[in-house]
Amino acid sequence: MPSTVVHAGFALLLAAGLLGRHYDRRALAALLVIVVVPEVDSFLGPFMPGAHRTVGHTLVFPALAAGLLYYDTRIRDRSLVRSRLDDFERADRWIAVAWVALFAHAFAHVGLDWTHLDGVNVAWPLVDRFVHLDGEVVFSTAEGFTQTFVEVQVDPETGRRAVDAGVTGTTETVHVNNPVEPRDPDEVTEEPVDRRFPVANAGWRLYLIGLGLFTLAARRLQGDV
């Protein structure tokens, strides 16, 4: 994983942009919980092969949550969330924070993990496929507009089109190393177990952490929280 610290840094920047008048310590604390919770799927690894980057990193559950939240707060006559949080102002606030958390989770957590190692199992449990986002978008005077994120190849003989969006495997074949399971359980080795807890494994990840801290400091300087 790009470390949880990197997710948190980028999530803080996104949250500061979206929280508006709800920006305060409690909202940010709730957001950080949402950043950390998906990593709990690491602990499911010993019981379910390929659980990390699958159970907590699919976009199916967040989409479902967004759909339910929308239905409950916008379409139903009497919202369950609102009736539980009796104070109107308070309900408004936590509904807004929930939307921000969903946004931050999708972009700062799932989005960044999608670009790292074997990627994420983005549509599990509907489709069991890990996908890894990697490539570039370039306009060149020699070759024109090219992108290599999604490769489309047409077989010259059969005319069949093959689309490769960076599929790396399924829960059966993919294991993404994490501190709970630092190496693929199928691998037999005598080497001592090395659990690695990364803070930043590349300059740009340090940059994303810095962006989050800068945002917090700047907002403080501006007089918020």
Binding site: L14, L18, V138, D194, G203, F214, A218
Partner: protein
């Protein structure tokens, strides 16, 4: 050079995070333009040797602007910026100016300092390109592994981070100047990179989604 689109995207995210009540299409455009501005030194490199990621990526311009802004808005009796603020309050203009300055440094210069090409932060006083590159990991076998800052680095410069050379030895290719050296090479192949890696695509996508959400909100407030 990190793609200008990535700098612009980070600038847009900073605009959304820091502009507060001054957030609208015009102020966002100013902050995004400030994020893209440092990359204009690629044009200067056609005449000045090794100006890319040096001339406008050095800290002197933001430092001078910051001092001037502070003096004008806090110490003068009549602030030039406040009086110039057309169609807006003075406070609003001051806020946009500070956020634009932050965007110039953090979104414009930042990505280059932390990714691939490096930045010449004190050019021309101290001519050396630096790059923050390495890792910071806690390992149960090796303890703390930290390679961002190490003493005894090779190459010209004094900071204990990766050194890439001077403006004479380290040329940064751009689409404006494909070989990074003075002179127009009109028949050379040019590449404009929009995004170079997956994480840059995610940053750009986040910025697009952010602006879409925020502009919808502000438009709804206007019609209300």
């Amino acid at each position: 050079m990190a793609p200008t689109l990535v700098s612009a995207a980070v600038g847009a995210l900073l605009a959304a995070a820091l502009l507060g009540s001054a957030f609208d299409r015009r102020s966002v455009a100013i902050v995004v333009a400030a994020a893209a501005a440092p990359d204009l030194d690629a044009v200067a490199s056609l005449a000045v040797p090794g100006a890319t990621n040096a001339l406008f990526h050095a800290l002197w311009i933001p430092l001078a602007v910051g001092v001037a802004l502070r003096w004008d808005t806090a110490h003068r009796e009549r602030s030039w910026l406040r009086e110039r603020a057309v169609g807006a309050t003075g406070d609003r203009a001051v806020r946009v100016a500070w956020v634009a300055l932050a965007s110039f440094v953090v979104a414009g210069i930042g990505p280059d300092l932390f990714w691939r090409a490096g930045v010449n932060p004190l050019y021309p006083v101290h001519d050396a390109y630096y790059l923050v590159s390495g890792r910071l990991v806690f390992s149960t076998q090796e303890g703390i592994v930290q390679t961002f800052v190490t003493l005894g680095r090779e190459g010209p410069g004094v900071l204990p981070i990766e050194r890439l050379g001077t403006s004479a030895t380290h040329a940064v290719p751009t689409w404006v100047n494909p070989d990074g050296r003075p002179g127009l090479s009109l028949d050379a192949e040019r590449e404009i990179a929009l995004v170079r890696t997956g994480w840059q695509l995610i940053v750009v996508a986040s910025a697009v989604a952010m602006l879409a959400v925020r502009f919808r909100e502000t438009d709804a407030e206007v019609t209300r």
